[in-house]
Amino acid sequence: MKMKSHIYKNYLTALAFLAPFMILYLIFWIYPIFKGFLGSLSSGTFGAEKTFVGLDNYRYMMEDEKFWSALWNTLYFILISTPSIVVLGLGMAILVNMKLKGTTILRMAFFMPYMLSVSVIGSIWVFILQSRTGLIAETLNSFGITMGVSFFGSWGMGWLSILIATLWWTVGFNMILFLAGLQEIPEDLYEAADIDGANKWAQFRFITMPSLKGVTALVILLQTIASFKLFGQTWLITKGGPGTSTTPLVHYIYQIAFRQWDTGYASAVSFVLFLTIALISLAQYKLLMGKKN
């Protein structure tokens, strides 16, 4: 009996300490997700009475070409952005981790763009890339060359522009993660390898890479989730165009909610996005972390 009340007290203590977080978490995370799902079962313009329509929004989604193209665009962006951010982030981390002159400045320079807001990033890259009056176009023009490509004019170029802007903006953060990982690796491993006559490539391949497995998994996971949530860059730089070619899912959700005023359908697409992210994150976590054991 005494034992039981002791356990009970323990739970109560734990609960009291958890409560501040738990209550906020329930109100601002769990409740909105639940409410969002309920909303996805309704129809009606924003601000007016809603009617319950069951799964109609989800049925509409299956036949909505723009939804599928937005989903494909999002997946495409993940496919191009994740590998490039891993390779570039790792490369930069190795560079600034070398004991060379000026690496502190480089470290700062690489990280600096990450501190800017997306609206600044958008303006900067429009300023650089736009035709005729852009930095590249004007520079070429002063040498008598006309810029033959249009950075926002097609599906491929549009995504390339978004990719460049995103890399420039966020690679610094991933570099810091890799850098932390690099500095965790004990020096004596490299010393031992040196004594055994291993060259630099072998050291990288058999010491650095395996040691960075955890960090790489983390970067891939974070980058995948961030890419799923891509919005600001497309909204500001390409405005989703030409046509719908650079419209990713979150961008489309914004259009549905705040241009079409269809909050029910926007909730439905958001919910599908949420499930997709949850599933992919879970799979990645299992795949990448599972290998460790």
Binding site: A19, F46, G47, V126, S150, G240, G241, Q255
Partner: protein, 436 residues
Amino acid sequence: MKKVMSHFVLLIMVVSLVLSGCSKGNNSAQKNEGASNAGDEKTANVSKEVIELKYWVPFSGSDGEYMENMVKAFNESQSEIKVEFMNNNWDNYYPKLLSSLAANSAPDVAVAHVSHLAELIPTGMIQPLDELATEAGLDWSTYGKNQETSVIRDGQHIAVPLDTHAVVMYYNKKYLGDAGLLNEDGSIKMEPGAEGFTKMLETLKGSLPADVSPLIIGSNNVFTYWIWYALVQQQGGTYFKDGQPTIDTPEGKVAMELIKSWIDKGLALPDIGDNSYDIFKTSKAAVTFTGVWSTGNFESEKSLDFAAVPFPQLYAQPAAWGDSHTLIVPKQDNKEKQVAAVKFADWLADNAAMWAKAGHVPSKPAVLESEEYKALPYRASYAAVMDIVKYMPDSTKLSAVNDAVLESLVEVNYGIKSVEEGLAAAQKNADKLMSK
């Protein structure tokens, strides 16, 4: 025992912290929370109490400054009403305004485009103004007919029109003069119709330096849609008919083929967005179709010698794309504030010569006749556009359909789709949006 007590106290503290946050919302469900409350109770006792109004505007561009000055002037002009000005970011103004209306936390008075009224009405929070207008001494006949009609819904005025802003034509007088395309009075020498206009551009191309484009338009942004819309209206075509979008029409094709032909012939540049303003401003283009709000921007460039005229008539009848800034009064219990809001709106329209500095055309003909307005350079020469503006149709889906149409028109400009394919796709997407 002591321990249990302390747990209990801790829990109480946490719970009360969270609940206190909710209490405000519970007992004021039906009131307009955001409307300023100062003076509510005191007005009964003290008749000279100042009425405070919260006023929202979406002028994050350069017009914000002009509006702020007007509010200041209004506050200084009398002592009964004090307006508190709040400028909002244009990009998310309507999500914000609409949410505030839906959540009963709207300001006392706010700017809304006439094209967005249909989206705001379903909240049931837009106050019909006729009764308030009588009390406030607002006379609807002092407003331009086209502008006044545009704010009537179900036989009631629901907003006070402040201005008209349209897409008009600006041209570089030096370039056109050099090409021999100016008449004595400074107007453009060209034959009537679309052919005449295109021929004028071709003549221009012959005499312009290689890096100057005869025409510049936002060929990958909303200007393409606005110009297309105007050209359709000029042919007597429709955008919506009986509440349904009519995009893929013979008039629509003719209009889009004309725009595309300018790009194909090298008379206008492809792949141009918001930098169309800069290109005209820096004399890298001779003619532009753009919004009246760029007048202030263009006149700040001393090296630019330009003129501004209404959108040219290229087909059977004159027409231009345009919209109006209007003032809406959200519903609330305090009628005194609503009357004050209407008085304020009418004052703004009366004194819109100040607002015209931002480029917009005032909604009251009397203002257009005033010396103050006439003294402003450029503005008076395109004021006539207010009579030919064809306002967009009233629909909660208007923004959605506009976006869908724009997507396709831009694809046509980039050569991704043909005119036929583009309009067919736009029609299909618009129909789908309406069916939801």
